[in-house]
Amino acid sequence: MNPCPYFFLLGKGHGGSFRLLSPSVFWSSDLQLRKRGPGGGPHLLCRYSVPGLRLPPSSGLSPAYQGAGRGQGAGRGQGAQRAAVTRRRRKNMAGAAGPATGSGAAGGDGDDSLYPIAVLIDELRNEDVQLRLNSIKKLSTIALALGVERTRTELLPFLTDTIYDEDEVLLALAEQLGNFTGLVGGPDFAHCLLPPLESLATVEETVVRDKAVESLRQISQEHTPVALEAHFVPLVKRLASGDWFTSRTSACGLFSVCYPRASIAVKGEIRQYFRSLCSDDTPMVRRAAASKLGEFAKVLELDSVKSEIVPLFTNLASDEQDSVRLLAVEACVSIAQLLSQDDIEALVMPTLRQAAEDKSWRVRYMVADKFSELQKAVGPKITLNDLIPAFQNLLKDCEAEVRAAAAHKVKELCENLPMEGRETMIMNQILPYIKCPEVRLNIISNLDCVNEVIGIRQLSQSLLPAIVELAEDAKWRVRLAIIEYMPLLAGQLGVEFFDEKLNSLCMAWLVDHVYAIREAATNNLMKLVQKFGTEWAQNTIVPKVLVMANDPNYLHRMTTLFCINALSEACGQEITTKQMLPIVLKMAGDQVANVRFNVAKSLQKIGPILDTNALQEEVKPVLQKLGQDEDMDVKYFAQEAISAVAQRLRKLDFPVKDSEEPSAPGADKNHFLRPRGPGEDTGKAQRDRVARVASKEAAETAQFRGPGTAKGPAYQLHVNTRDTLPQLDTAEIVLFLPKHRLISRI
């Protein structure tokens, strides 16, 4: 979970709503031209079948296509021959041997192997985006057929001006061109690919631009040093001094690839261009420059880093727009890695200190978010002197986002501290600052990791107040989160400590006014019993659970049943039969129908654990009585339980009289008008009863209801955990940051 899904963090290279139509691996690299075997897969080329071209079945093209493109295939029999021709060409290309086979392919002997290529070329301009996309993805095939010369002189000029297309097509084009060097005649002609990529680097869609830049970076490596200065560097300069900011932002990503291979004079120029982009009028460009600052610093000479990059960094870190300043924090990491301790102290730390106390929470957030990287970059000494105090401040920041981000880093921070004095440092310098609930919740969620660093005893003492506080938090999502950590805590703390401090909490959750909490508390008990054993359960848990059977609130009486359901298996036959069963049977006479049918369900559940005597002697009579209940639902569940019990008895060769065995649920239409499973809505009858019960029980449950549960028992009765879970998932986002409001379109 990203605790701060604030999109300034996603901005860079984030696709947004942008969606690819099919996986981009479709056919770009491992082009396979194979003979079309008998009964081979569907034609994936659209509208025309193309003999000799077949794609691996996993190519992921949408099924809509597969139906579209059959028939019209000219001369299937010749497929093998043509495939061979193409394969030979393919080999040539792979070797990037130069303009050897090009003219042969294009000039051709009139063979109709040109036909599929002709289709592909024509479909570059088809009205259907999918077809265009398809063609673009097979651009290498087209180029191969045209030969290197025609690719350079005809195809690329055409592509350079095709930037009006849909994003998907442009993205595919940008990606294809990155691997095109061999198809235009090898490294000597790599510069021919620059014009189309240059125009793609100026489109408004970030994903396309980023891909174009990526391909340009790839191609730059294939340039010879001479070609780099003759073609690539001028391109970078053109982009860097472009009229529109999209081209200038794209330029920022290209400096670091051409700098190392440029001559001294050109290097000076490149630095000059980068400097001017760092102080561009447009914040978009400054942001792009700031995010590439670290990368650029890495390829610079150390002297230049100190004399040029550091001032740029300082400027960006004090930019008037906080959206720029926050990116400078990232650069801080890479710059610090390059400098000596003294230089870091003198050149980087003033800026970093300033960033940690920035007026804008977003900048502080970035410092918190990058904390462990910063810690590693600046080394242990500065960490101790500067970063730990800064971290303390971040932990008590006035903005919840910042606190949460800092809390997420506690674990890594502690791990990265020097072994010597680590424990004292954590105990004295970090834990006391962990105050607010959401921070502590994050700590608890990382408990096992923190525990590895310092002892659990010490940790638990400082965390216990937090746990107690969170256990009673007004937000049930927080309580739920804490419950989920209980088994873990219990395992770490041991029985004794748990009984002393946390047991009462676990019991209190059983009578929580939110169903989800009661349910989680029940499951929690089961896990605890699995951890601590049956004896512990018998002494501490079971008595308390059973006492609730006499609670005036029917919801709590039901909780007893749920607990029994959960615990019986873990507790074993003896406890179940001796202690639990009597209570369950007694509750069969409850005045509330919900309790009664849950008794039936419980009996069904614990049936397999009970011995057959108890089943025959005690359970069956009660179930039969419930089977005659006036309430539809009680009757229904009782019948279900009876048949389950009967089945078990029969399996054990116990005599069962035929008359006693009821018909299967739903078989007798007179009795079971609506066959229902236990999880289904039991229809109008139940709803009516809900209303009835609701009014009857309203008074007795009122005391347990917090102000937020205005709907009362009716609401809780309706809660089916399975129904509410999806809803809960969306609430997950706000768990740690209850204040944060995120609107997600569903």
């Binding site: 947004g16 051709g108 289709v119 100026t202 529109w244 978009m284 727009q321």
Partner: protein, 446 residues
């Protein structure tokens, strides 16, 4: 005073602008007007969900007098009427606001919004067309595949300029109430949209998430006392924005301080004058528009009767107050009855922040010179808008005897209102939307 010399610009293809709107339908009523950042383009939105973009003609040497005409550049349907089935509500297609994005490449981008949905449009030019197919000839007839002996790569040929408008993003489903404002942030990366009770922050790249930065909805809707009427980002500081309320107050928020801006940093409010208190005080103090000056140092607000200019550093009263149509003070009762009192007039700055313009009734619009404190009332009407004629100042007679050239308060036509105006960012060219007519005036040089 230059603004006494405004003369109309008549578009060459006026057919497109005026004549087509001769037979007016309600959908033709212009609902927003906005120049782009260079002033080269002017966008209007109307009640029918259409956006019409005008482009300024390049000045030519031989036609000096025809400089700077605006002609139709592109027209597209931005929003369609919809129906919200869950709430049984019709969603009008009316364009509430248009905002241009800073230009990022050769194409132009604008945001348009109706009550619920904001859309990002790209307006781009195309002047080349690919030619030549392999499988068919120039007339489009299919060729016999057997005759294909060479491959043809399409070639791009020049063609007549084509302007395309394509929807790039749709930002929907984030507003429960009606969107009244959108504003682009100076970080070029985000924008906000404000409805009656909430303000959301969006990233241009992300349509399925927005962040709610202001929420003034009370827990109990019966305690609702004020609504958000307009909101705008600071022109240079990406962290600052203001929003105005129906109570006549303006709040300035700083997004650096906190992720949620429910608590304001500054609160601009003028103490009420008890002597002016009346039944209508609250209604007429409601702010209908708020605009930062280009310098970012002042904000201007428009309420029913006045325009106020506030210094960002002085929260307790406005530095300047201009009466737009004070003569209506005695007529508030009848304006209340015909609902005119709820009209939302907008206001604009000129390029140098020295002049303010806002609309009034009877197709009148007002300009105030902040330096000389002079003001003028002009009228946008077809009768007195002959090309290159200078607009005559109009006067409304308040009681007593009516002089020649004056118009009496009682004969003002309240159905002819000028709510939306725009001022070219650097030149003295103004666009005035008078119901279904768009007038463009320019100051006369020489």
């Amino acid at each position: 005073c230059f603004f006494l010399l405004f003369s109309p610009i008549v578009p060459r293809d006026r057919h497109a602008v005026w004549a087509s709107r001769k037979f007016t339908s309600p959908t033709d009523i212009i609902s927003t007007v906005e120049f782009n950042h260079t002033g080269e383009l002017l966008a209007t939105g109307d009640k029918g969900g259409r956006v019409v973009i005008f482009q300024r003609e390049q000045e030519s040497k031989n036609q000096v007098h025809r400089r700077g005409e605006y002609n139709v550049y592109s027209t597209f349907q931005s929003h369609e009427p919809e129906f919200d089935y869950l709430k049984s509500l019709e969603i009008e297609e009316k364009i509430n606001k248009i905002r241009w994005l800073p230009q990022q490449n050769a194409a132009y981008f604008l945001l348009s919004t109706n009550d619920k949905t904001v859309k990002l449009w790209k307006v781009s030019e195309r002047d080349k067309r690919p030619e030549g197919y392999n499988l068919k000839d120039e007339e489009g007839r299919l060729r016999d595949p057997a005759t294909i002996t060479t491959l043809r790569v399409p070639v791009l040929r020049p063609m007549d300029l084509m302007v395309e408008a394509t929807p790039r993003r749709v930002f929907a489903n984030a507003h429960t109430y009606h969107i009244n404002s959108i504003s682009v942030n100076s970080d070029y990366e985000t924008y906000m949209s404000a409805d009656d009770l909430r303000i959301n922050l969006w990233n241009f790249e992300i349509t399925n998430q927005s962040f709610n930065i202001v929420d003034i909805k009370p827990a109990n809707m019966e305690e609702l006392t004020e609504v958000i009427t307009a909101a705008e980002f600071h022109p240079h500081h990406c962290n600052t924005f203001v929003y105005s309320s129906s109570k006549g107050t303006i709040r300035l928020c700083d997004m650096r301080a906190s992720a949620l801006c429910d608590r304001h940093t500054k609160f601009f409010e003028e103490p009420e004058d008890p002597s002016n208190r009346s039944f209508f005080s609250e209604i007429i103090s409601s702010i209908s528009d708020v605009k930062f000056s280009h310098s970012g140092r002042c904000i201007m607000t428009r309420d029913y009767l006045t325009v106020k200019v506030w210094d960002l550093n002085m929260e307790n009263r406005p530095v300047e107050t201009y009466q737009v149509h004070d003569y209506l003070r005695s007529k508030l009762c009848s304006l209340y009855e015909n609902d005119c009192i709820f009209d939302k007039f907008e206001c604009v700055w000129n390029g140098s922040d020295s002049v303010i313009m806002t609309g009034s009734y009877n197709n009148f619009f007002r300009m105030f010179d902040r330096n000389t404190k002079r003001d003028v009332t002009l009228e946008a009407s077809r009768e007195n808008s002959k090309p290159r004629a200078i607009l005559k100042p109009r006067k409304v007679c308040v009681g007593g005897k009516r002089r020649k050239d004056e118009i009496s308060v009682d004969s003002l036509d309240f159905s002819k209102k000028i709510l939306h105006t725009a001022w070219h960012p650097s030149e003295n060219i103004i666009a005035v939307a008078a119901t279904n007519n768009l007038y463009i005036f320019q100051d006369k040089v020489n």
